[in-house]
């Protein structure tokens, strides 16, 4: 584990945390790329996923689109977009390729959240005279939120790991020490950069895991203690992402 101690020594050396390419700058860039692309993907994918889940239409199209998006390597897409957009719009090119990466999981999280809801609950809401919008806002979105946040967690992990390739087209981020270390054969830099990415990923995942716990409606949390057997039908689905 000599390598590991070298990497940690590299990470904690004061000179890594200073200057234009200091680790805190790279960390900031990495975080900014991650948050922005997940946000943009969310604005696109979540309403689309909810529409699919609510109407039950367009699911095949969404699955096919997600399949194609998965088959496209982010690394290649990034290079293609950099060439297409031109050198001055490199950050935009990077954002677009990360958004493409983030969309499938978020979309799946949004519509599977709705599909996991017991149909009887939605029928009951309609029978009580709720309008379609009320069904959506008061029943489906709250009940589907937990799986959506689960999709958000998976997306965030993917995007955090992938933003490292931004450094390949000189956009900084925590991939910079990895790429520089690759060229200089400095393994401590490579591992140090990777450790930073992993720590960032774990921290973001922890925050989202807490958010996921909080996103389970109170009604469901309480019912679990009283009617155990009945809840066994659908709680495992929600617990899936909590593990």
């Amino acid at each position: 584990m000599n390598l590991l101690s070298d990497a940690i020594a590299w990470l904690f050396a004061p000179e890594q945390w200073e200057g234009k390419d200091g680790l805190q700058t790279l960390l900031g860039q990495h975080l900014l790329f991650t948050v922005l692309s997940v946000l943009i993907a969310g604005v696109i994918a979540i309403p689309a996923g909810w529409a699919i889940g609510h109407t039950g239409k367009g699911r095949e199209i969404a699955v096919a689109a997600a399949g194609i998006a998965r088959a496209v390597p982010s690394f290649g897409l990034l290079i293609l977009l950099v060439l297409l957009f031109g050198v001055t719009h490199k950050p935009a090119a990077a954002l677009v390729s990360f958004v493409v990466l983030a969309i499938p999981s978020l979309l799946a999280g949004a519509y599977t959240g709705f599909e996991a809801i017991d149909r009887k609950t939605i029928d009951a809401a309609r029978a009580m005279g709720m309008t379609e919008w009320q069904v959506l806002l008061k029943v489906e979105i709250p009940l589907g939120l937990s799986l959506l946040v689960g999709g958000l967690r998976a997306t965030t992990l993917q995007v955090v790991a992938t933003v490292t390739i931004a450094a390949y087209v000189n956009l900084g981020g925590l991939g910079l020490p990895i790429i520089t270390g690759l060229n200089l054969r400095r393994f401590d830099m490579v591992l140090g950069g990777a450790l930073m990415v992993a720590v960032l990923a774990l921290l973001l995942d922890l925050v989202l895991a807490i958010a996921q716990k909080a996103s389970v409606p109170h009604g469901l949390v309480h019912r679990r203690t009283t009617t155990k057997n009945h809840d066994a039908d659908h709680l495992p689905v929600q617990d899936k992402e909590l593990t």
């Binding site: 088959a71 390597p73 690394f75 060439l83 499938p104 799946a108 599977t112 790991a161 990777a194 992993a198």
Partner: protein
């Protein structure tokens, strides 16, 4: 577009390399995930940590893994074996979850019936549990296959030649068509393998067609792709 017709032979030979590297990794990942997934499913105490730890393998940036693996294993960084080991690790990271979900999806009544009919643990696993978990495991395998094929392109950054070559070379020479043809080739290979896996699943598991109660949605949700 003349670039493509002039370089068809190059694209073809890179595709073959690419396909070989990814298929071996997918196979290794699949073979390792079944016992790992079984242990995680059978022994709940270690199950949580196994699923969490394999899931965490995701967060290792592929570039870093490709550089660090040789230091641990003693392989050359630019060797194909290095890329294949790295890709297998990511394949396991995606698949184990799918295997556990698959085994969980088996109706306990079917399992009890098999036990009542005198099936031992091993025989029941291969004759009842595994086939019934098959459709869900297949869904996980499909996601694994597609993302492994896409991910393999990163190998070029440490010097393993495959379709990723068209990306780096295209960037250096500023040939947009070259990068684009690389993307299309990767996507076509991924989708072809995906279709093959679906057909293979229909042929090997005819029971999965009748029973549409299994919600495929749950699977795509829980098994996510790894990104480079």
């Amino acid at each position: 577009m003349t670039w493509i017709s002039d370089n068809l032979a190059l694209i073809a030979s890179l595709s073959v390399e690419h396909l070989r590297q990814s298929l071996i990794a997918i196979l290794i990942g699949f073979v390792l995930s079944i016992p790992l997934g079984w242990v995680a499913w059978r022994y709940k105490l270690v199950g949580g940590p196994i699923v969490t730890l394999t899931g965490l393998l995701y967060t290792i940036p592929s570039l870093a893994l490709l550089m660090i693996l040789p230091v641990i294993t003693g392989m050359s960084a630019i060797s194909e074996a290095n890329l294949i080991v790295a890709l297998s690790i990511y394949a396991v990271a995606i698949m184990v979850r799918g295997v556990v979900d698959g085994l969980n999806s088996v109706d306990p009544a079917a399992r009890s019936a098999a036990t009542a009919m005198g099936y031992g643990n091993t025989r029941r696993f291969f004759a009842v549990d595994l086939p019934l978990a098959g459709p869900v495991i297949l869904a996980g395998l499909r996601v694994t296959a597609v993302s492994t094929i896409a991910l393999a392109t990163v190998g070029i950054l440490v010097g393993v030649t495959n379709l990723g070559y068209l990306f780096t070379n295209g960037l250096q020479r500023r040939i947009i068509v070259e990068v684009f043809s690389g993307l299309v080739a990767v996507a076509i290979i991924a989708l072809l393998i995906d279709v093959l896996l679906v057909l293979l699943g229909r042929w090997l598991m005819p029971w999965s067609r009748k029973d549409r109660k299994q919600k495929p949605a749950d699977v795509t949700q829980s098994v996510q792709a790894v990104a480079p």
